[in-house]
Symmetry: C2
Subunit: 280 residues, 2 copies
């Protein structure tokens, strides 16, 4: 594997491994970058996590995740915003270029989707100065519309770009995750737009596998295991000028139950066969 | 209940009942219209079905369903188109104003979403003359993006309107089904467009319930049981000028297992509380 590879293993793909193990299997597979999650980083402490990753010679491609700020004003919302400020600091300490944001779903008992979406815009407004000061990009991740009620009211790339539009592209960008956007009839146009607006903060590859898992959060697959045409979406992202890392982020029980070293190798192999050829 | 009501019980909501039972519980609940499905109609034969419904004094609001025409050219595709022609004839015999079309998913083993979508356009081109001759509107139903791989490559109202655009609005229209489109950030604009283009052939109400059922096809709920704001979507449809029937179409095991007479009454009650007030 070339040291110039743009592949990054997102830590969620080996979710049951602790940070030291995730770092080790990433390095052992010859993967040059890793996408981190806050919880396993906090388990060892931010400073030690940063040292672990740096000593292993890995880049951090992103930190997951902030967000969950659709609540109306009140103590819970203020706590969520404070937690996002801590996440921005953690991302900066890890030298992660982007903090991935998952918007959050409808507040309990609410059916006001328009209101929830407007509170996402307000939260970005509140957090953008902190992100700019820390040199971290807030990366809005549109999630598949099947999560609109309970996880993320940001459902399309176009909507994420509309939310990002008022801000400096270095401060607020978007995530293109194939699993979440592959179905979108407007995908080619919106990826091209994301490129023109310099908003692509992260590209994540993950397959759409049917039947949908009984827990729909765990329905993601390693590229090649499902229905997504990675060549065509990767070419769109390449043509949009994206030059950053490409993360493989898979939530799937049988992948988690597998040996993390084997999963790292398998993810890299899928990337080299199905994604990398379309990047150049 | 006023005889002027626009409520229609879609037969799928009482799926385990035969046609005679579905008709009886619809009439007994004071519901003036019914949405029919081909299989239970074929069980009794088209002529007898038409007589059953007519003798009961019911309108037929739609016939479900044609479609499933994403296959590449070959005997299977030709058989699918022939079957759609039969469905058009059946809709005409039942005096159903619209034949609901579900596009079909990716052909087995294919990842060519763009190609599958283009074959939907070709199928509409092939079928439009038959529909025009029969006086039946082909109603393209965008399905929720979670069905894009295995059931319907038409995923948004905007995409359905683009597919319908080349045709006479009396011949090719769209279905607005709340379950499938409620999440769409572009929904208000696309419903308004559908009104301007005179394309709304059917309005169906059905709730989005979480957690998503283990069989995601059965994740629909009677209005009020989930997350959808029926008042706001119904006002959009009203303001778009739609004056037709409003179907309640629910696929859900515990609804199917319930007494069909009770389900008919419950559906009507939900409509009268949550939908009808926003129609006027």
């Amino acid at each position: 594997m070339s040291a110039a590879s743009r592949f990054s293993l997102n830590q969620a793909t080996v979710k049951l491994a602790d940070l030291a193990t995730a770092v080790r299997v990433t390095v052992d597979a010859g993967i040059p970058a890793i996408g981190l999650w806050r919880e396993p980083v906090q388990e060892v402490g931010g400073e030690r996590a940063a040292r672990l990753v740096r000593d292993a010679g890995l880049r951090v491609s992103s930190l997951c995740r902030g967000g969950f700020f659709t609540l109306p004003d009140g103590p819970e919302r203020r706590a969520a915003l404070d937690d996002n400020r801590r996440a921005i600091e953690e991302a900066a300490a890890l030298e992660a270029p982007a903090l991935v944001l998952v918007a959050g779903g409808l507040p309990a008992g609410s059916r006001d989707l328009v209101g929830a979406r407007s509170r996402v815009a307000e939260a970005l407004d509140a957090l953008a100065p902190d992100a700019a000061a820390a040199g971290v990009s807030l990366a809005i991740e549109p999630l598949h519309p099947m999560y609109a009620a309970d996880r993320a009211v940001v459902s399309t790339l176009g909507q994420a770009l509309d939310l990002a539009a008022p801000f400096d592209p270095a401060v607020v960008g978007v995530v293109v995750d194939t699993f979440h956007v592959w179905w979108d009839p407007d995908l080619a146009a919106q990826i091209a737009r994301a490129g023109r607006e310099a908003r692509i903060a992260s590209y994540q590859v993950c397959d759409w596998v049917t039947p949908i898992a009984a827990d729909p959060l765990l329905s993601r697959g390693i590229p090649g295991d499902g229905h997504i045409d990675f060549a065509s979406i990767t070419r769109m992202v390449r043509d949009a000028g994206y030059a950053g890392d490409v993360e493989c982020e898979v939530f799937r029980q049988d992948v988690w139950d597998d040996d993390p070293a084997a999963v790292a190798v398998r993810s890299l192999d899928a990337y080299e066969r199905l994604v990398e050829p379309s990047l150049s």
